[in-house]
C-alpha cells in the first residue's frame, strides 16, 4: 500500500557559519500522520521544523511539501498553505479573538463575512464559547489562548500543520487536556502534523511516528513501540526507563481485546476437544440471556467436561473498553490474574484481554 507523502526532507542541513545545527536530516511524513520531532534543547528540532515553512532557509538538501520542492515555491504562498502553531502563541494583542483566528484570511483578502463565519466555525471546533470572539487575547487564560492559536492555524484549512512545542507554556493539567483535544480533533480533521516537543510522554501520546534528534542528526525514527525497543544507548537514556508503560498508556485496550474466547452454555458440558480451548486456562459460562455468568478454570472441570453450578467463579471486576493497555495491565496486576474482562456499560460483555497479548505488543507479533 502506497500512501501519499505530505512532507519529505532529503538530506537537509542548516549551517550557521561553521556550525552544522541540522546535519543531513531525512524523513518523510505521510498524509494524515502525526510526526513528532524530539530531542534535548539545541538538537535542531525547531530549526528543522522552521525550515519546512522556510522561516529559516535551509543550507542544503531538498524539502518537498506535497511533492513540490519548497525552493520552487513562493515563501509567502507556502506559509499560507501550512498552519503554524508556536509555544508562545503570538496572538496579536490589538486584535479581537475573531480577527486573530481569521488573520490568514485577512492577509489573503477574503471577504469580511467569510472571515467571520470561519472564525465562528473554528472557535467551536476548538471548544471555546462563541462570545469569546469579541474578546481580546489578554482576557483569556493561557490554555484558552493556545486553543485560539490552534484555531488560527486551521483558518485557511491547510493540509499540513506545524506545531512548535504548542503546549509547552501551559500547566501540566491544561497540557494534558489540550493533548487530548488535539487527538480528538485530529480524528475528525486528519491533518498532517509535524510536532516538536521536548516531552517524551507527549511524543508517545500524540505521535504516530517519532524522530529523535541529537546534535542536528536524526538518530532514531519509528513508531513509539519501535522507539521503546531501540538499542541505541542515547535513545534509551533519553526516553527513560519507564517508557514502555508510557507507550502502553497510548495504546487503546481494544487493540489487544480478544472477542473470541472459549465459552460454554450454562447447564451444558464443555467440549474439551474444541480447538478454541487451546491457549486458554478458563472457559466462560454464558447464560441464556447472553450475559456472562462467570468462568471455570479448565483444570477444575470433570474429565467429561461437566461441572456444577458452584464451580462457576464470578467474573472479577471488569474494565471499560476506553482504557489503555497500561491500565489493563495494572488491573491484572492488582487482581493477581493474567487476564481481564472488558465490559461496556451499554453494550455489555466485550471480551477478554490476556497478559500474553499485551506482551505480544512488545514482541511485535501482534499490532
Amino acid at each position: 500500500m502506497t500512501r501519499e507523502i505530505s512532507v519529505e526532507l532529503q538530506k537537509v542541513s542548516k549551517l550557521y557559519g561553521q556550525d552544522k545545527v541540522v546535519d543531513e536530516v531525512s524523513f518523510t511524513v505521510e498524509k494524515g500522520e502525526v510526526f513528532v520531532m524530539i530531542g534535548p534543547s539545541g538538537c535542531g528540532k525547531t530549526t528543522t521544523l522552521k525550515m519546512i515553512n522556510q522561516l529559516i532557509p535551509h543550507s542544503s538538501g531538498n524539502i518537498l511539501v506535497n511533492g513540490t520542492d519548497v525552493a520552487e515555491l513562493d515563501v509567502v504562498e507556502l506559509r499560507r498553505s501550512i498552519g503554524y502553531v508556536i509555544q508562545y502563541i503570538g496572538l496579536l494583542p490589538h486584535l479581537t479573538i475573531q480577527e486573530n483566528i481569521a488573520f490568514v484570511l485577512k492577509l489573503t483578502k477574503h471577504p469580511k463575512k467569510m472571515q467571520k463565519d470561519r472564525a465562528e466555525e473554528l472557535i467551536e471546533t476548538v471548544g471555546l464559547p462563541l462570545n469569546y470572539l469579541n474578546r481580546y487575547p489578554r482576557e483569556l487564560s493561557g490554555g484558552q489562548q493556545q486553543r485560539v492559536g490552534v484555531a488560527r492555524a486551521l483558518a485557511a484549512n491547510p493540509d499540513i500543520l506545524l506545531m512548535d512545542e504548542p503546549f509547552g507554556a501551559v500547566d501540566p493539567l491544561t497540557r494534558e487536556q489540550l493533548q487530548n483535544e488535539l487527538l480528538r480533533l485530529q480524528e475528525s480533521i486528519q491533518k498532517t502534523i509535524v510536532f516538536v516537543t521536548h516531552d517524551m510522554q507527549e511524543a508517545f501520546k500524540v505521535g504516530n511516528r517519532i524522530g529523535i534528534l541529537r546534535q542536528g542528526k536524526l538518530v532514531c525514527l519509528g513508531t513509539p513501540m519501535e522507539i521503546v525497543k531501540s538499542d541505541d544507548e542515547f535513545v534509551k537514556n533519553f526516553i527513560g526507563q519507564g517508557a514502555l508503560f508510557e507507550v502502553f498508556d497510548t495504546i487503546p485496550v481494544t487493540r489487544v481485546l480478544q472477542k473470541d474466547f472459549p465459552t460454554a452454555r450454562y447447564d451444558q458440558k464443555v467440549d474439551l476437544q474444541a480447538e478454541e480451548l487451546e491457549d486458554w486456562e478458563n472457559v466462560f459460562i454464558i447464560d441464556s440471556d447472553d450475559s456472562c455468568k462467570g468462568y471455570i478454570p479448565l483444570s477444575s472441570l470433570n474429565s467429561d467436561g461437566s461441572y456444577t453450578a458452584d464451580q462457576i467463579i464470578p467474573l472479577p471486576k471488569a474494565s471499560s473498553p476506553d482504557i489503555s493497555v497500561k491500565l489493563a495491565v495494572q488491573e491484572m496486576l492488582w487482581g493477581g490474574r493474567t487476564w481481564l474482562p472488558i465490559v461496556d456499560e451499554k453494550s455489555g460483555f466485550k471480551g477478554i484481554v490476556q497478559f500474553r497479548s499485551c506482551a505480544g505488543l512488545v514482541a511485535g507479533d501482534r499490532r
Partner: protein, 215 residues
C-alpha cells in the same frame, strides 16, 4: 483683584492681535509636528531594520537636538531668511530625536512571538509592518509625538526672534517693555495650546487603536 480685571481689560483690547498670532502660532507648531512625524516615523522604521546603522542616525538626531533653539534659528537664518520657514525647519529638527527613538524602540519591542506567528502564517513584510509592527508599536510612537507637540508649541515662541510672528511676539515685546500683561497675553494662550494639543493627540491615539483593531 484690580490687577486681574485690568489684565482682562487689556487682553480684550488686544484680542484681535492675540487671535491672529495664536492662529499663526498653532499652524506653525502643527506643521512642525506633522512634518517631523512624517519624516521621522518612516526613517525610524527603516533604521529599525538595521539597528547598527540606526544608532548613527539617532546619534545624529541627538546632536541636532542639543543645539540651543536660538543658535539653530541663527544658523538657519542665512539659508532660509526670516519668517516661518526657519522656524518650522527648527521644529522639524527638534521633533526628530524623540520620534525616531521611540519608533525604533516601539518596533524593536514588538513581541517576537507575534511577529513569528504572523510571518509563519504568510504575512508579507509590508503586511507585517501594517498589521503587526505599527499597531503594536503605536503607543510608544504616540507617546513621542505627544511629547514633541508640547515641546514644539514652546519652541515656536522663539520663532518670533526671526520674524515668524507667533505668540512669541507678545512675549518678547512684553519682556523688552517690562510689561507683564503683554507677557501673560502671549504665555497663557501658549500654555493652553500645549495642553490642548496633548489632549487632542491622546484622543487621536485612542481612535487609532480602535481603527487598527477593527480593520
Amino acid at each position: 483683584m484690580e490687577g486681574v480685571i485690568g489684565f482682562f481689560q487689556y487682553f480684550w483690547d488686544i484680542r484681535e492681535m492675540v487671535f491672529v498670532l495664536t492662529v499663526r502660532h498653532a499652524w506653525m507648531a502643527l506643521a512642525g509636528v506633522a512634518l517631523g512625524t512624517l519624516t521621522a516615523v518612516p526613517i525610524g522604521i527603516l533604521i529599525s531594520r538595521k539597528p547598527r546603522a540606526g544608532n548613527v542616525v539617532i546619534d545624529l538626531a541627538g546632536m541636532l537636538y542639543t543645539i540651543p533653539s536660538l543658535a539653530l534659528l541663527g544658523f538657519l537664518l542665512p539659508f532660509m531668511g526670516l519668517g516661518w520657514l526657519p522656524t518650522i525647519t527648527a521644529l522639524v529638527i527638534y521633533s526628530w530625536l524623540p520620534v525616531l527613538r521611540n519608533t525604533v524602540t516601539g518596533i524593536l519591542g514588538v513581541d517576537p512571538a507575534a511577529k513569528e506567528a504572523a510571518k509563519g502564517m504568510g504575512a508579507t513584510p509590508y503586511q507585517l509592518l501594517i498589521n503587526v509592527e505599527l499597531p503594536m508599536a503605536l503607543p510608544v510612537i504616540m507617546a513621542a509625538i505627544r511629547t514633541v507637540a508640547v515641546l514644539t508649541v514652546g519652541i515656536t515662541v522663539m520663532g518670533a526672534l526671526v520674524g515668524a510672528r507667533g505668540l512669541g511676539e507678545l512675549i518678547f515685546q512684553g519682556i523688552s517693555m517690562m510689561n507683564n500683561w503683554t507677557i501673560l497675553a502671549g504665555t497663557i494662550p501658549v500654555s493652553i495650546m500645549a495642553l490642548l494639543f496633548d489632549y487632542l493627540l491622546g484622543r487621536l491615539e485612542r481612535r487609532l487603536k480602535v481603527v487598527t483593531s477593527s480593520a
